[in-house]
Symmetry: C2
Subunit: 337 residues, 2 copies
């Protein structure tokens, strides 16, 4: 016996697919010099954003992106049933403090860089389940807060291997609604934690690719859809090496997505020109590319059916030092015009 | 216009209230010497639980409690639609690694010490919404992992003020199901983030009490229930000073809960005998008291209607050092025989 809205093993099909009513994206200076600058709402040149530390700058970006998504749809915070948000900072403080300002009932999420897609999956369930009319979803990251917390003082100038990625400074917000005009969330495939034994925190793409492959394969099997059903498989932040590995794994599983796959971490920076090594990463990476570029593609009818797959590496600096490998996850939602 | 299952502003009423099918609780030595020792499944004397560090001990407790809840109900991991879990450690690694072992589609949550109740609220929505038949929920904490991450090396023997609480070593797991025999989750009131300006990380109870009061007041107003509808208002980890403040605030809001209120942080230790200052705290505190003691009270028909309110302080050590006050949250679920 299975739940009424489950299809296959791991996917749910929404009865009244929730609508992406509005989105907002705010990015930092480096992202503003990249190829997607024209798709975001605001580029913030100052890494402190006028605040006295980077952490406050990050949370200000998150809060403003959430407010911007609401104002675009002319929806007030008090009309929103739930805010779902999370970020990379310890105790997800960017999300917690943004939630304090907005005073919307708050469900804190942690899925590392997959958080915006985890939020889309859960948010769509809350709406289609009859518990909400509006769900606001947001996620953020900041190059300097991530470096401070996870790696080395930036002043030290530690050299990183070419497999390393560059944490995106930015925040994205998505307003999901029970009714309205916009791309719809038709299916969600919540991922399992996959760990094939990768232990290198400077090659997260390789650790996350198997999780993305597992979720995409489950989604296709559950829905009976073929690869060519989708115009695009958009992964969150696999970067160059992770994207290559995902396509290889998918071929091994019998699905060739190589002509229909792109990665937010490859889209957001120009790797030739911007010295970001393997590409972008961080919670903000899929959040701003989905909120900005992808929604523009939908508006311009260049894309009509997209499987978005948020990818997250579920390690901590402590687990790495204790010799553990890197568990990873991929959460997928089908977005259809 | 509101969502079909919303009552009042902030509460949902379940159409087919999900059932708590089974629970499991594992605690450490100090908790095993406390008044609730007979209500848990296992007392682990060794703080390392046979592992080579405390973090691995914590995640082993979480994983075993999840497995125990499943085996009690004779449900296999592959039959569970979602695992919802979170903990206090950075990047919720106890939950992430337990999820890796169980291979159940995983939704990582962070609500600090409110996480087990946040999980009950979200899990009940996933089941009543038609997306799941079984949802497994778990949360954990460990005195020594929390001290290492949030405070001082334990070897230093830093003295703490009497308002400080003692982080519970323990893990609790709850298996929610669409059908079966057990207490039912009839309503959920997801909290807003409340911050009345408390900034003392050694008096978390005072920071969290206003959030609990806000959620309880909203719940009573939304449902039209009076205080005497419930046999017990069970808060998560307010401790002595927080519990006192909550009762005072509730009186100011026109509700006298003082004869019907208890706190997991007061129940789990004997404050006279165990030198825990203001009582227990941590994600494990409400998780093991709810999974152990509260379920026993339901089985023995000593309690029939309980409003459980998980409380969480949404700060980080970094925000405290940056001079911020403490945002807090309370998530409530109504449990009815």
């Amino acid at each position: 016996m299975t739940a009424p809205k489950k299809v296959g093993v791991q996917t749910v099909a929404f009865t009244s697919p929730p609508v992406i009513l509005s989105t907002a994206a705010i990015v930092g200076a480096k992202e503003g010099q990249g190829p997607l600058a024209q798709t975001v709402d605001k580029v913030v040149a100052d890494p402190y954003y006028g605040e006295d530390n980077w952490e406050k700058a990050e949370r200000r970006m998150l809060q403003e992106s959430l407010e911007k998504a609401l104002s675009k749809a002319n929806v007030k915070p008090q009309d929103v049933d739930y805010l779902l948000a999370g970020d990379l900072l310890n105790q997800i403080v960017s999300a917690n403090f943004a939630a304090r300002s907005l005073a919307i009932p708050f469900i804190g999420l942690y899925g590392a860089c997959s958080t915006i897609y985890q939020g889309l999956a859960v948010g769509a369930m809350l709406i289609d389940g009859g518990f909400a009319r509006y769900v606001l979803i947001g996620s953020s990251s900041h190059y300097s807060t991530a470096e401070r917390q996870y790696r080395f003082p930036t002043e030290q100038g530690a050299q990183r291997p070419l497999t390393a990625q560059w944490t995106v400074t930015g925040a994205g917000a998505i307003l999901l609604a029970a009714a309205g005009v916009g791309p719809r969330v038709t299916h969600a495939t919540v991922g399992r934690v996959i760990d094939l034994g990768s232990a290198d925190p400077y090659n997260m793409g390789a650790a996350m690719a198997p999780a993305a492959a597992n979720t995409i394969t489950s989604h296709l099997s559950d829905t009976g859809r073929r690869v060519d059903y989708y115009d695009l498989f958009l992964t969150g932040d696999l970067g160059f090496y992770g994207a290559e590995l995902l396509e290889k794994l998918m071929r091994e599983y019998g699905h060739d997505i190589s002509g229909r796959h792109n990665d937010c971490g490859l889209l957001i920076f120009d790797r030739e020109r911007q010295d970001v090594h393997a590409g972008g990463s961080g919670c903000g990476c899929p959040a701003v590319v989905t909120s900005g570029w992808l929604m523009q593609q939908f508006r311009e009818r260049k894309l009509n059916r997209v499987l978005g797959i948020g990818t997250g590496a579920l390690l901590s600096p402590v687990t790495t030092k204790q010799g553990e490998t890197i568990p990873a996850i991929g959460h997928a939602v089908a977005l259809e015009a």
